[in-house]
């Protein structure tokens, strides 16, 4: 079962890195925020799968929950900020 979790976590890391292209190359600032949101969600998945691999899911699930929370708050704050400053 551990090898399955390792494989899924490796694929999820690749998917998370794919979002970073959108963060670097997004035409508008909202594309960058969107990429960061997807990156954070994928990273939460990776954290919980790493917990499964190492057998310390009870610890890693708290880290994942905190990461998801901070990601949500950060995306919310950035979107509300650029909503005002980017107006054309």
């Amino acid at each position: 079962m551990t090898s399955v979790f390792v494989a899924v976590a490796a694929c999820a890391v690749v998917l998370a890195l794919a979002y970073l292209y959108r963060v670097a190359a997004g035409p508008t600032v909202f594309d960058r925020i969107l990429g960061l949101s997807g990156f954070g969600t994928s990273t939460t998945i990776v954290l919980i799968l790493i917990g499964c691999v190492y057998g310390r899911l009870d610890m890693f699930v708290d880290i994942g929950l905190g990461y998801a929370l901070l990601n949500f708050v950060g995306v919310l704050a950035a979107a509300r900020y650029f909503e005002r400053t980017e107006r054309r």
Binding site: L34, S37, S42, I45, I48, A68, R88
Partner: protein
């Protein structure tokens, strides 16, 4: 049981890959938002359901399901906030006129 868990993880990974490819390839901010909000949420839910099933019934799997419910609520909310911010900031959606122009 192992087959079911592997199937859940693989399906979740498939939907996450669809979301990632959509964000990379789609032509316009709102279409990328569409790919991210639905496919990524479903992929996350399926993967976390697989992990919770593997863990069995205890406090840790309850926390995993709590993460799943949290992402299920916040991912569409964050996408909605981003879409509203983009509309108010004046990001124009792609239309047929943009496609016909070279």
């Amino acid at each position: 049981m192992t087959t079911l868990i592997t199937a859940l993880l693989a399906t979740g990974l498939f939907f996450s890959a669809v979301a990632s490819m959509g964000v990379l390839r789609l032509p316009d901010f709102y279409t990328r938002l569409h790919a991210l909000s639905k496919a990524e949420t479903l992929g996350t839910l399926l993967t976390l359901a697989g992990v919770a099933l593997w863990q069995g019934l205890d406090l840790t799997s309850a926390k995993v399901l709590l993460v799943a419910v949290f992402l299920f609520l916040t991912n569409p909310t964050a996408t909605h906030v981003m879409a509203r911010a983009a509309v108010r900031a004046g990001v124009a959606p792609l239309t047929n006129e943009d496609r016909e122009r070279p």
